[in-house]
Symmetry: C2
Subunit: 288 residues, 2 copies
């Protein structure tokens, strides 16, 4: 693959022991080389394909997120108690496309955690305002003591495969001409393979007879684990759920190759290279 999988390969050493050791955390926060990720309203400062950092001035413990170490230097983010939940803009997505995947992965970690804090200020168990703890990797309720951990929601994203063709679909919100792999959240009580089969059946009416895992990536909008699979299906007849998909169609290898090459006159426009759908198309073309 010419472009690696997006949002993976962060150079962060997460320094898990420091999450539960206030002395170690304080030592790292006092390190004169410590750096703070430079972002405003969840949009990172970027230069030459890399995210920018600035000098870190120690914050109150409940506003301190220790991302980890990069190149031996402690890296922090600011849990702003007044922050609102994150929005996704086309400007941000263009910016991410300019980042190396490992840099995007570091940003994704910071963004998902900060946005989780902004959207989970209260204890789901008793309703009292909770506080960040574990160096920003959890929250705890001062009233009932319940610990809350960041969510990571598993999502399956898959190509149905029949002979030498795969199924692609588009949602109404996609840019004009864009098609991608079908996707959906893994639900309570099902395996990855069962979620793939259920989503293909629900959204397109196709029946999976075998599912193979291809790759995974974190996706920070807001905090998914994308699990990419290819499913062999019994036949190509479609019954679309038009509340989920605006259209779906079968495409062959030549059509997928043209789309990945950026040919705007082809059968469809491909998803951005940092999305795992792009990696999935490339893996399928490579015979995986």
């Amino acid at each position: 693959m010419t472009y690696p999988i997006g949002f993976i390969g962060s150079p962060l050493d997460r320094l898990e022991p420091a999450h539960k050791d206030p002395h170690m955390l304080a030592r790292l926060a006092a390190d004169p080389t410590a750096l703070l990720i430079d972002m405003t309203d969840y949009v990172p400062s970027v230069a030459d394909g890399r995210i920018m950092w600035r000098a870190f001035a120690p914050l109150p413990p409940e506003e301190t997120l220790l991302l980890g170490l990069i190149d031996g230097t402690p890296r922090f983010a600011h849990i702003d108690p007044s922050a609102v939940s994150a929005k996704r803009s086309s400007e941000l997505m263009a910016l991410l496309d300019s980042l190396e995947p490992g840099e995007a992965a570091t940003y994704a970690t910071a963004r998902s955690l900060l946005d989780w804090h902004a959207r989970h200020r209260f204890c789901a168990n008793c309703g009292v305002r909770s506080l960040p703890h574990h160096a920003g990797w959890a929250r705890q309720c001062p009233a009932c003591g319940t610990e809350h951990f960041p969510r990571t929601d598993p999502v399956v994203i898959m190509l149905a495969e029949h002979g030498d063709r795969v199924l692609i679909g588009r949602q109404a919100a996609f840019p004009p001409g864009r098609y991608s792999a079908l996707a959906g959240f893994v639900e309570v009580g099902e395996s990855i393979e069962e979620a793939v089969a259920r989503e293909l059946k629900e959204e397109a009416g196709v029946v999976a007879t075998a599912v193979r895992y291809i790759a995974s990536q974190p996706w920070p909008f807001p905090s998914q684990l994308m699990i990419a699979c290819i499913a062999t299906v019994a036949d190509e007849a479609l019954t679309l759920d038009l509340t989920e998909l605006e259209d779906a169609k079968w495409v062959d290898r030549a059509m997928v190759a043209r789309a990945l090459a950026g040919d705007s006159d082809g059968a469809f426009g491909a998803p951005p290279r940092y999305a795992i759908a792009s990696s999935l198309f490339r893996a399928w073309l490579a015979g995986q």
Copy 2:
């Protein structure tokens, strides 16, 4: 494999369109053949390897969980507003071992959802008491309108492999002699493969050079997605994190086969057959 993967293969058709259609839900609830899963304090009634159901009498909408259809019959569970969070007992685990995996999967779905409701009564966004909606597959806050969906926390569980041996570990809380695969939660901002490598490094000090996906299962204590992998590692030297593992050791194929056969005089006691660690050992013995 003689025993399939545990907790998969539920016969439930989840009837997703009914989650957002109160008329369809009301029609299903009024169906004279509708059934309620028979359980007390999260422990199911079981007979002949199957979970038991009883006649369903319609409940208030905010106490109604539509599990789906089995054999054309609507299946429900009761969201008891006074329920406390679930406990796991050795009696329950023995009961689950007596269930067919598909039956355990249906139970797992009900248990995880009901327990999620019991532990998430308040809106994490504003602290007001939220209410079940979407036929019990979500909650919504009456004050700020935020929708909350059940958690499914992805966990990697893996065998490190070196030559013809794999690494097994035990936690202090395990039954005497029991060893299993190492495991840990996938964290924000990392892929499955990165989580496997991080956990092996953190817990055992071994360095993964390649990770291959094997299988997955839902795990209802309380609501994990277990993702089983095998990781090739560079060498067998161990540096254990004794806060996570009481012990870890390398075992060969004969030792694993003896443990899976239930030989109590072997190198270790195997995890229960319904745990994906058991499937992972069997997959490794089969050369996957």
